[in-house]
């Protein structure tokens, strides 16, 4: 029983099909997903991967064609309409385009979820003002959403989402319409809410940057299926699928760097004792002086073309692309040594790329 009490959301074998004329579209295919209470769980995928459809199953805005949905230990598909509406109040949602009511003031929007409940008008006002203070928009209570910036609108939407004291917050591309700086501040706010209110957050995005900055766990979706999942640091450093690797390399700028480097330098002019190498340092290995060790201990020259260090779920991850020059024996010994220390290496000049002499 402990398992059911620690999970906020359990999706079992969920499929969603749409009928488009004679065609059947399988938006979600046999997906299992368990999200622990208090987690920040990211779902990443390109548009059309089925992530929006999948998260809408959680509050039954989208009825699954097959499968079981358990939210807060309730099988919500068995609920009567009134009970379902009650259950939905515990699963709030924020959206890419904010979805605020333009005919209501900021305060009116935040009060909306409390309309028609037993809460008195005075309490409603007080709660809305408290939430607006929490998201840093106290002075905008009487403003209409039309006069706010994107980031402010999303803060109002977050305050509104919190009005019903939810246990789960679903964020549907909530930062995709915002600039990088605003995105960062909204993500910080979400992180704070997760910490202070023990709010379980399910976040869907197409940007690995977002996953990297706040999620603990991540699932990668493609064509209606979850193709890879796990703790963010692990998925980031040991991506198993090509798509995952794509997301990782795009967000770390490695992909761009490799493309830029291989298109500007002529690999065919490399000497036999030269290699273009990619290094990936994880955790403690980022703290060691690998480069100086390479040149001193194994008399290998390292010419760094690209380097970057990232923070992923609290752990340091480094990336480096460099031209290595030295004799084979020392070079192989160096690579073996680095592998032992947890550094991952890949020879970019190997196999796929053509070269004139040598191998």
């Amino acid at each position: 029983m402990t398992e059911t009490t620690t999970n906020a959301i359990e999706l079992k074998n969920i499929s969603v099909h749409f009928n488009n004329g004679d065609q059947q579209i399988d938006a979600v295919k046999n997906v299992d997903l368990t999200i622990p209470r208090g987690d920040i769980y990211g779902i990443i995928g390109y548009s059309g991967a089925g992530k929006s459809t999948l998260v809408r199953v959680i509050n039954l805005l989208q009825k699954p064609t097959a499968g079981t949905v358990i939210v807060n230990n309730q099988k919500i598909q068995q609920l009567k309409p009134v009970e379902l509406r009650q259950a939905r109040k515990k699963v709030s949602m924020i959206f890419q385009h904010f979805n605020l009511m333009k005919s209501r003031t900021v305060q009116g929007n935040v009060e909306y979820p409390l309309l028609g409940t037993k809460i008195s008008k005075a309490e409603r006002h007080a709660k809305a003002l408290k939430l607006l203070k929490l998201v840093g928009l106290s002075e905008y209570a009487d403003t209409y959403p039309g006069q706010l910036s994107g980031g402010q609108k999303q803060r109002v939407a977050i305050a509104r989402a919190l009005a019903s004291d939810p246990e789960i917050l679903i964020s549907d591309e909530a930062t995709s319409a915002l600039d990088p700086k605003t995105t960062k501040s909204i993500l910080e706010l979400l992180k704070q809410l997760n910490r202070d209110l023990n709010l379980t957050i399910v976040l869907i995005t197409h940007e690995m940057q977002v996953i990297k900055s706040i999620c603990h766990n991540v699932a990668v979706m493609d064509a209606g299926k979850i193709i890879e999942r796990g703790p963010v640091a692990k998925v980031f450093t040991e991506p198993q699928q090509k798509l995952t690797n794509d997301f990782v390399e795009t967000s770390t700028n490695v992909k761009e760097a490799i493309e830029r480097i291989t298109s500007t330098i002529k690999i065919s002019e490399f000497k036999a004792n030269q290699e273009l190498m990619y290094f990936n340092f994880i955790g403690n290995s980022t703290k060691q002086s690998v480069v100086s060790e390479l040149s001193q201990k194994y008399s290998v020259d390292v010419n760094i073309l690209f380097a970057n260090i990232d923070q992923i779920d609290g752990e340091n991850v480094g990336y480096m692309i460099a031209i290595i020059t030295g004799d084979l024996a020392g070079f192989n010994e160096a690579i073996r040594q680095m592998k032992n220390e947890g550094v991952k290496t890949r020879i970019l000049t190997d196999g796929t790329l053509e070269r004139g002499d040598g191998q």
Binding site: N59, L61, P81, L84, R85, Q86, A87, R88, K89, V91, S92, M93, F95, H97, N99, L100, M101, K102, S103, R104, Y112, P113, L115, G116, Y144, P145, G146, R160, S164, I170
Partner: protein, 223 residues
Amino acid sequence: MSAIMPNVIAMKGEFLQATWETIYMTLMSAIVSAVLGLLVGVLLVVTQPGGILEDKLTYSVVDKIVNLLRSIPFIILLAVISPLTKFLVGTTVGTTASLVPLIFGIFPFYARQVQNALLDVDHGVIEAAESMGSSPMAIIFRIYLREGLADIIRVSIVTIISLIGLTTMAGAIGSGGLGDVAINIGYARFENDITFMAMIIILVLVFAVQLIGDWIVRRVEHN
């Protein structure tokens, strides 16, 4: 004045009476049509495919009735509907009798306009309300009718102006009002100043409706 509009001066009392009749017909039929049109318009929006109370049968039946009623030219509707008018009002002539064809002539038009206005309400906001556990009734009253209010007022202005036009047509077959004066007195007796004056008063009414409507829209819209 008496030189340019001799007949108008002579009929001052009739003009006042006719103007009042036009306002009465417009207002009374507008009130009833507003209720019917809002009901049907909301019904169409919520039962349409993908609506919050999706119901294919209801939608297609109501949709077809609205289309049918809208297809009948008003001048023919006036005649066709007269048995119903007789049954409801007891007579087919006079201002009150004209309300029946006016209502049937305008409410389907208004319903369609309301439907279009409500379709413009951001679907995302409806979805957000559903995600917050709002009931269908709450969504209709707290989201659709409130978020769509400015557009509903806009289409109401258009509808009232159309309605003023219809009252003059009803006037031609004996309901009274400015249409009656313009056609049965001005046109029939070749007293052109009377027809012209009737037109001027109607234009004033139309402008007044437009001005008041625009003012209300400005008050309720917060884009």
